[in-house]
């Protein structure tokens, strides 16, 4: 289901290889550190960024990102 709200972006740090596609798709929410690994805003993704967040999850070549429904 596309466009669900109340989600956070999570990263499997072991799977993540620092390809950086996520930060290109969602620069408002994901930046890269000095070594190219994503720094993800851990707040609930705002409504207007949820579709882009889903794209970022889909485009990751290492399948290292997922959206987690926030419990609070």
């Amino acid at each position: 289901m596309r466009g669900r709200s109340g989600v956070r972006i999570r990263v499997d740090r072991i799977a993540c290889d620092g390809r950086g596609l996520c930060a290109e798709i969602l620069p408002e929410w994901i930046t890269l550190d000095d070594w190219g690994f994503p720094i993800v805003n851990q707040a609930i993704v705002p409504e207007d960024l949820v579709l882009a967040a889903e794209d970022a999850v889909e485009v990751c070549p290492k399948l290292a990102l997922w959206l987690e429904t926030a419990s609070t």
Binding site: R10, V11, D12, R13, I14, A15, C16, D17, G18, D33, D34, W35, G36, F37, I39, Q42, W66
Partner: protein
């Protein structure tokens, strides 16, 4: 029994102080036959309390593991121990087999000697695959851990406390300690103290009294490292009269380490040494840790050598790596070094100007060198 444990307020003594009853419930709520792991890995190189406990009160730990196994209806208990105490644990397990009083069966495993090897998922990974490194992402161990079974991983000291609660009850357990942090705990007292070693102390007594259990300081102190090498530095002066508890000191008690750091020794050099050690202990699985820790260690080393003019980049990296690993090694490094920069601020300022004022030598924290690490 579960209610009794909940009433006791028992918290984990491995480092994270997680409520034990909550962990038991999480495992109980899962389908499938659980496994219990008694974790005596003690990867923290300066800590000795788990080894001392396993050597001196082996059966108490095994009693607790047996109680936990009965509670969650586990048939198998893995006891993971430091190699120094393996023989003692083997002997005790042999005695129990002969008596046949335990419902669950025990298996003893020698722990891996690496800093991150004691993290719960790393212990599971070690038993299952011989890889002492943490596992990434969910499911949680309580859902699917060892061999896909619900897995309860408890520090050996926590299990010993559990055994005592099973014997004497929650009210007895709460007769020591504070309402939020009940009971006693084993601490490893190190540094500038008359008689360093492992002591059992009531949580909440003044820190000065804890030090007195080790004969008191041998010199004036400038700081304490509390919790472990992943812990927090505290300035000595204001801390001495505070209660020894997470609430009283405002920092986690971690694995119960207290290192008394004397005046005259360079806190910056000590921090650099710790940073290099911790960087060497990264499992190399997660980018921010694999690259960030050596970079941070390099920056602190430059600072110690008087080759840094600003801590701006270092402080940004410390903020950035926090929370970005499969285990909490990066968080621990960030917290420990950030606290060092605050507690040793005057010495940091001197180093930025190219000076070190320490006159009593340096490198006093015991840091393992050599060997397969």
């Amino acid at each position: 029994m579960l209610d009794e444990i909940e009433r006791s307020g028992l918290l984990g003594h491995g480092g994270a102080a997680f409520p034990t009853a909550k962990k038991l419930k999480a495992v109980l709520s899962q389908p499938g036959r659980p496994v219990v792991i008694a974790n005596g890995t003690e990867g923290e190189p300066a800590s000795h309390k788990d080894r001392v406990l396993l050597a001196r009160a082996t059966h108490l730990v095994l009693d607790g593991a047996s109680v936990a196994a009965d509670l969650v209806e586990a048939g198998e208990i893995f006891v993971v121990v430091h190699r120094d105490v393996r023989a003692a644990v083997d002997a005790a397990v042999g005695e129990r087999r002969r008596t046949g009083l335990d419902r669950a069966s025990f298996r003893v495993v020698t722990a891996s000697d690496r800093f991150v090897a004691g993290e719960a998922s790393a212990v599971v990974n070690w038993i299952a695959r011989g890889k002492p490194v943490p596992l990434g992402k969910p499911p949680r161990l309580a859902e699917r851990g060892l061999a896909g079974r619900p897995t309860l991983v408890q520090n050996v000291e926590t299990l010993a406390q559990l055994a005592l609660i099973a014997r004497y009850g929650a009210a007895w357990y709460r007769s020591l300690g504070t309402p939020e942090e009940p009971g006693s705990m084993l601490v490893t007292l190190l540094g500038a103290l008359e008689r360093p070693g492992v002591r059992e102390v009531e949580i909440g007594i003044p820190l000065a009294e804890v030090l007195a259990r080790a004969g008191g300081p041998t010199s004036t102190l400038q700081a304490f490292l509390v919790g472990g090498y992943f812990g927090t530095w505290l300035a000595a002066g204001p801390s001495l009269s505070r209660p020894f508890s997470a609430q009283g000191l405002g920092v986690g008690l971690g694995a119960g380490l207290i290192f008394a750091f004397p005046t005259g020794v360079c806190g910056v050099e000590e921090t650099a040494q710790l940073a290099r050690y911790l960087a060497s202990q990264s499992a190399g699985q997660c980018g921010p840790c694999m690259f960030g820790l050596p970079a941070i260690a390099g920056e602190v080393t430059k600072l110690a050598q008087g080759r840094l003019t600003s801590t701006e980049v270092l402080e940004r990296w410390l903020l950035e790596i926090d929370g970005r690993g499969a285990c909490s090694l990066p968080d621990g490094v960030a917290g420990q070094i950030s606290s060092a920069l605050k507690v040793f601020a005057p010495e940091v300022a001197e180093h930025l100007d190219g000076w070190c004022t320490a006159r009593a030598g340096c490198r006093i924290l015991p840091i393992p060198t050599g060997g397969p690490r």
